[in-house]
């Protein structure tokens, strides 16, 4: 199916079978179904295979530095709240190099969506452990197996009271699209951790493995219950999928920033009040 977000697909540099392919397709469909316009959407990324996604989708693009996508995305939204801002990057970029940017942006609650292509491995650098790699996984660097605990982004995001916390498996297109749509529609910081297999370097966490090691949360599950969400967040034998936590009562960064209290326009549309400046300078008669 073609969409208004189609762009430059002939340039795609992903391996055949990569989880990024269905993710890209599902994201484009979700945005179309939400009525989003490429002209009003900014795709931000860091560096990595996942971070190439903005190259292949129509819209504005900021392909920045490894780990720094969230800082950039927060500032774009803070400068122009009228734009839809979506970050796509991998587990290494967002949980590793950019780990503290993730924590600190959750606390600010900018109205952005962060889609983590979590394949539990470093793809672009060819197969080293990532923060989410399971304990014991052997790689060319972790020769005797991973000894770190696996990073648990869902538990961290719930603990930080993120506005929207979710996890999906890209092999389940229907559920993934539903959660993408809810995440982009959510007013506030939305995290979507996507199990997104790397077919070249992760021979452990395959499509089949994810299917066997996850389950969908049922209809009765209430994501606004924080204690329950935390219980779900620490389940790691079989990972729960869906919207795990949401707090709809939070103000966004812009809603609580004084620069937008009276004037809702994007910053670029505003002009310096030269008269007020002159008065301020003239008022400096004393220290």
């Amino acid at each position: 199916m073609s969409t208004i977000f189609d762009y430059n697909t002939e340039a795609i540099a992903w391996c055949p079978g990569c989880g990024n392919f269905p993710l890209l397709r599902i994201l484009k469909e979700a945005l179309v179904e939400l009525g989003k316009q490429p002209e009003r959407t900014v795709f931000v990324s860091g560096i990595g295979q996942a971070a190439k996604l903005p190259q292949y989708i129509k819209g504005h693009m900021f392909n920045g530095l490894h780990g720094r996508g969230l800082a950039v995305a927060m500032a774009i939204k803070a400068s122009n709240p009228e734009l839809t801002v979506i970050v796509n990057s991998g587990d290494g970029c967002i949980f590793g190099e950019g780990g503290n940017h993730l924590n600190q942006q959750i606390l600010r609650n900018p109205d952005i969506t962060v889609i983590v292509h979590n394949n539990q491995i470093y793809g672009l650098t060819k197969g080293q452990a990532s923060p989410t790699s399971g304990k014991g996984m052997e790689t060319p660097v972790q020769v005797y197996g991973v000894t770190n605990e696996a990073f648990n982004p869902i538990a961290v995001a719930v603990a930080l009271d993120a506005s929207f916390v979710s996890r999906v498996f890209v092999g389940d297109a229907k559920k993934t699209k539903e959660v993408f749509k809810a995440a982009v529609s959510n007013k506030g910081f939305s995290l979507v951790d996507v199990f997104c297999p790397c077919v070249s370097f992760n021979k452990l966490n395959t499509y089949q493995w994810y299917e066997q090691h996850s389950y969908n949360l049922d209809e009765q599950y209430d994501p606004t219950d924080k204690i329950q969400a935390f219980q779900k967040a620490i389940e790691t034998i079989k990972f729960p999928l869906g919207i795990i936590y949401r707090n709809p009562h939070k103000k966004t960064f812009c809603e609580s920033n004084i620069a937008y209290e009276k004037d809702k326009r994007p910053l670029y549309q505003r002009n310096l009040d030269v008269e007020a400046l002159r008065k301020l300078v003239e008022s400096k008669k004393t220290l």
Binding site: N8, A11, P38, E39, V42, V44, I47, K52, P54, Q55, K58, G59, H60, M61, F62, N63, G64, L65, R68, A71, V72, A73, M74, A75, I76, K77, A78, S79, N80, E82, L83, N100, H101, N103, Q104, R108, N257, I258, A259, Y260, E261, D263, P266, L267, Y268, R270, N271, L272, D273, V274, A276, L277, R278, L280, V281, E282, K284, K285, T286, L287
Partner: protein, 577 residues
């Protein structure tokens, strides 16, 4: 005598800062020219700090640090020792409290007894600074209305009780001060001066940021840059500025670049250690051709170094920071007026040429205040350089001057695609080395480089002193007014100084001007001669080591030491003749 130097010394927490702000303010309102600077330890309580107030007659501008102390007010038993190297038996009067300081050690000095300790018991420990302000006001016979007027401005919001306690302490001091046997030299007052404005470097930097049209600041607090963030934050409501205290400097610079991308004007304000973390982001700005203004407030390093002291040792850092090759401009203002002008220029230049522009300040400039006339504070105006895009928009279109029109997302029908990878005209990632990479390097480095090279320095190189000079003193950044005063004092028929407010790229007239001198002396606040090397590299001017005055102990240059250094060379020259 037409200028006087007062130094107050005490512990952190005693309110020395308040004395400084109070005294420069009310002395200026009275019609004197004023100057203040401070040196302090990196601690919130204790230690030993001092502040210098220079008072000039209504006719004499005072704008530089001097070592000489005419009137010393020690507020702690160790205070005199702290500035012993600066006082003289002949010229310094000390307001001494025998209950605080053992006067036996200072019998040869002109000591005037003032009972700070006794009064302190009476008015409360917290108010010793207000008492000292009272004493000084009494000595200078500043009209009580003036003192009360300023007291109200400062304490109005703190309630009647705070106001009256402070007033009480101040009043007691005033009574004591009036009776102090210290003859204030007769100095003319000037009502024009009374109406002038009074600014320190921090506030001026903040005003420049606002005047530059900045509407986004994300910064992590670090001395001596923090004051800028504070000032801008305090005016953020009035001017609609988004303020974000960043989680670290890496985030701060990435946010600044993100904000510029979305059409805001942003600044990354920090000190050396913080800027070291920003170098990756600086390189990003170079690659994606983002405008960026960086305030690098220098302090001595390496590492944590001396957090509250001054230095000019991050020139090389600013010059060479960032992996890969890209252009930058570095301003190093030497005065309050230059600072205000250059920050505004930095925003317009960064916007137009899509490059990082640095403002190099330092603790001395940031913590220095003096009065300036409104005419000296030039408002430049905001020249936005972004364009409305068409549907066929290419962010990195090849152009003759190397500058591709910069669109912003949401304005127009085009797409703004920027990429930290090497990219083509549309911003697509590319590894087409022979064609696209070569053309992009030509655009970013050569074409844009030529365009930038044609720019005039906002403040032309202007020699001060003799027009017939054969000895030329070169300085840059915050030492300007110190060197200028030294040269004016020496008033030698063959002596002049020149200040570089733009240190990179060097102003075009650099070589021709410097070649006019037989002898070049250079003064800078580092130990390796960073600007000396820059002059050699980019202007082919060689200055022998014996003609350098390098200082890196964390103190600012004083007028006296600069005069001494120049005099030594004037003597040598005399011998040669």
């Amino acid at each position: 005598m037409d200028d006087l130097s007062i130094v107050i010394v005490g512990q952190a927490g005693q309110g020395i800062q308040t004395v400084e702000e109070f005294m420069v303010s009310i002395l200026k309102i009275t019609g004197y020219n004023v100057f203040a600077t401070k040196e302090y330890m990196s601690r919130v309580r204790g230690g030993m700090n001092s502040t210098e107030l220079r008072i000039g007659s209504g006719k004499k501008r005072v704008r530089a640090y001097i070592e000489r102390i005419d009137l010393l007010i020690p507020l702690h038993k160790n205070a005199i020792e702290h500035v012993k190297h600066r006082i003289s038996k002949l010229n310094t009067a000390i307001l001494i409290d025998p209950d605080m300081i053992d006067t036996k050690n200072y019998t040869e000095y002109n000591c005037i007894e003032v009972p700070f300790t006794k009064i302190q018991k009476n008015i409360g420990l917290k108010f010793i600074n207000m008492f000292a302000i009272g004493v000084l006001s009494g000595i200078f016979k500043i009209p009580k209305e003036t003192v009360e007027f300023y007291l109200k401005i400062r304490f109005e919001l703190k309630g009647e009780s705070v106001l009256s306690k402070n007033y009480n302490a101040l009043n007691k001091g005033y009574d004591v001060g009036e009776k102090v046997k210290y003859n204030v030299p007769e100095m003319e007052k000037n009502t024009n001066v009374a109406n002038e404005i009074l600014l320190d470097g921090s506030q001026t930097m903040g005003l420049g940021v606002i005047a530059g049209g900045c509407n986004f600041i994300s910064a992590y607090p670090m001395s001596p840059s923090t004051g800028t963030l504070v000032f801008v934050a305090q005016h953020s409501k009035e001017f609609g500025i988004v303020v974000d205290q960043a989680e670290d400097e890496i985030a701060a610079i990435n946010k600044a670049i993100g904000a510029w991308y979305a059409g805001a004007r942003a600044i990354a304000s920090t000190s050396g250690g913080g800027f070291a973390l920003m170098t990756e982001g600086l390189s990003l700005a170079g690659m994606i051709e983002s405008p960026l203004v960086i305030h690098l407030a220098q302090r001595p390093g390496p590492a944590t170094g001396l957090p509250t002291r001054t230095a000019q040792a991050d020139l090389n850092l600013a010059l060479y920071a960032g992996h890969g090759e890209f252009h930058r401009i570095i301003f190093a203002p030497g005065s309050i007026e230059q600072l205000f002008l250059l920050v505004q220029k930095a925003f317009n230049i960064a916007d137009k040429y899509q490059i990082p522009v640095f403002i190099l300040t330092d603790q001395y400039l940031i913590d220095t205040s003096y009065n300036v006339s409104l005419d000296e504070m030039y408002i430049v105006g905001v020249d936005h350089a972004f364009v409305k895009t068409q549907s066929d928009y290419k962010r990195y279109a090849y152009t003759e001057n190397g500058i591709s029109p910069r669109g912003i997302p949401g304005l127009g029908s085009g797409f703004v695609r920027v990429d930290s990878d090497e990219h083509d005209e549309w911003g697509h990632i590319t590894e087409d080395l022979r064609n696209t990479r070569a053309k992009m390097m030509d655009k970013r480095i050569h074409k844009k480089g030529n365009t930038i090279a044609r720019l005039e320095s906002p403040i032309p190189l202007t020699p001060f002193g003799s027009t017939e000079f054969d000895i030329l003193i070169v300085c840059w950044g915050s030492s300007f007014l110190t060197v200028k005063e030294a040269v004016e004092d020496l008033n030698h028929p063959k002596l002049a100084c020149v200040h570089f407010s733009q240190v990179y790229p060097l102003p075009k007239e650099t070589t021709s001007l410097l070649e006019k001198a037989n002898t070049i002396l250079l003064i800078e606040g580092n130990s390796t001669g960073q600007f000396v090397k820059l002059l050699k590299l980019y202007a082919n001017i060689e200055i022998p080591t014996s003609q350098l005055y390098l200082k890196s102990n964390g103190e600012p240059f004083s007028v006296e030491e600069v005069k001494k250094f120049i005099s030594l060379h004037l003597k040598k020259r005399g011998k040669k003749d």
